[in-house]
Subunit: 349 residues, 2 copies
């Protein structure tokens, strides 16, 4: 397999030990899948921080947001060996027929100072709110449109995972616009400009029978209400992206159109990154797609971690031919890599 | 179990033999799941007509819309015993890892004349169009808002089943508004009035892991773009609606609020009907829900057919305390039944 990434020398650039927990007793188990944006002359990341708590009885536990509980959180704890417990994935367990997450995620800011040092903020920028986010919020992508920043993230609850939207101009006050794509849906990215007068998004419904884990496109007059859904591109049997595809970073405008870096999952569960080029005026038209991945798990912290063999790019910043991708590694670390747009385009077919 | 339905004496009111096929060689295998509406002083139904073709090689076949093929349709035929064939459901088969439908559906009008005789039109009112409908269109619900009729139906293709919307004022010319809810989603009903200035819909995403087959509510400024999704109500463990719930007929305005007749599926696969009452001004607020079903499969043509043990109400017309429900029976027949709204309300808890 190929790998066009020039990884940062100091990867991982953020590790769980760099992040302070939100509540007493919680441990930061992962910091990953960062959005990336520029604000007030600096480069910022919006991190997914996943926290958990070792179950006091040696079993498993699930943190759940509960406004009336102490510190706004309650724990579901299940003893190892409980006959109603199904527990074969580090990320989830099933108890009495219901599915729980072992961690709860929030979104946290980090920024580079003038000297290039990365600082993680001491508390959350955005936490889950309401029934549809009581299992947390995850995997945010940030898109700036006309000076306003739009956060598309996964809202997770016992009712499933859908895509919610929040907006901000100053990164202090956020306007929540509700769930824009109902479950089961995730990996939503907004285009950074209106196209034909409309806002455009990519999203990733999850179909188990008819259909698949394909990338869809939708349009909106106002960002809060979406329609005109179409299937944009699909998994490829036998390829590195045969099981799932999902949008990665928000599309980047280049001379040839919109460059979208997406993730693909293979039969063996490995997450790799590839690229797709969309027509500038009609983004439902595909001009090219990576024959081979542009990045795959190679470094130790990409191959092993909370959930290994994952590179998951979620933020991209362009500077001429150089495209910097910020990505999650092994559902545990934040990393960065630089690509040449020319090299990516050369691999499209 | 209970049953509050006063069934029509002449059920089934439409059977497959009453419907002419659209193309040479096709057989009408089912006519079911009718929308109901009033237009030009008459009662009309918009039927789902499912057609199939016996495979010439004694196996299974799938009809697929293909504009360039003869009669606009091609057939995928698979010989019985093909090692790549999985064939254990009359409605679908899997071949070489891909899922196909054994029938293709379109929407057809029927209307009652002055003497109360029901006439089925000789051809389709609406057929599938484009990639997202190449496996057909199904299970339409019709809602009249301000003199215009809106058709919310399942659009089916290899990319999954989603909800598409078409509108008409005269039942001759239809304006297609695209896919409003991406797959996997179906059973969408529009409320017959704006509430708080917005259009409101119920819809039914399909979650296999986290979440379930629950009924969601969404809002729209323009009918074509939807957001503000929320989970309205869920399946009930151990009850007659423990596996799936889905909206049935479009909500009917009664003195107490919005009355929604919905279907629930039990562990044994039986489809029954129940009711839910929603607040008039805030339809996300539930005022009551049927403890027990209001109708269940009892007649022979409800208990056996193309897919047995199904009553599936999709159109309701109110006249004072009398509510007439038009429903599909066993995925094969169109039937009708009358209810007393008072009796339905008495069973809510």
């Amino acid at each position: 397999m190929t790998d066009l990434a020039h990884r940062f020398a100091d990867n991982p650039i953020i590790s769980p030990e760099d992040v302070t927990p939100t509540r007493p007793g919680l441990h930061v188990l992962g910091v990953f899948n960062p959005a990336a944006f520029r604000f007030q002359g600096r480069t910022w990341l919006l991190l997914r921080v996943a926290e958990g708590m070792p179950a006091s009885n040696g079993g498993v536990s699930a943190p759940i947001l509960a406004p009336d509980a102490p510190h706004g959180m309650r724990m579901v704890e299940v003893t190892e060996g409980d006959p109603d417990l199904v527990n074969d994935d580090p990320r989830v367990f099933i108890w009495r027929g219901r599915k729980y997450l072992t961690t709860i995620s929030h979104l946290r800011l980090a920024s580079y100072d003038e000297r290039g040092t990365l600082h993680v903020e001491p508390g959350p920028a955005l936490e889950g709110e309401g029934d549809l986010e009581c299992f947390g919020i995850e995997d945010c992508r940030v898109t700036e449109i006309d000076g306003r920043y739009h956060l598309a993230y996964s809202a997770v609850s016992p009712d499933g995972f859908g895509v919610a939207l929040a907006s901000t101009a100053d990164w202090r006050f956020f306007e929540r616009q509700g769930m824009i794509f109902a479950p089961p849906n995730k990996d939503c990215v907004l285009f950074p400009a209106r196209i034909g007068g409309q806002y455009v998004a990519l999203h990733r419904p999850v179909c188990e029978g008819l259909g698949g884990k394909f990338i869809w496109i939708a349009r909106s007059p106002d960002l809060a209400h979406w329609g005109e859904n179409g299937c944009l591109f699909r998994t490829r049997p036998g390829a590195w992206d045969s099981v799932k595809v999902g949008a990665g970073a928000p599309p980047v405008r280049i001379a040839d159109g919109w460059l979208e870096l997406y993730h693909g999952v293979a039969e063996d569960g490995t997450y790799r990154m590839g690229a797709i080029l969309l027509d500038a005026d009609d983004p439902a038209r595909i001009l090219g797609r990576s024959r081979r991945p542009i990045m795959e798990p190679r470094a130790d912290h990409e191959r092993s971690g909370f959930f290994g063999n994952v590179v998951f790019g979620t933020g991209a910043l362009a500077d001429g031919d150089e495209l910097t991708l910020y990505y999650g590694a092994a559902d545990q670390f934040v990393c960065g890599a630089r690509f040449s747009v020319t090299e990516i385009l050369a691999g499209l077919a």
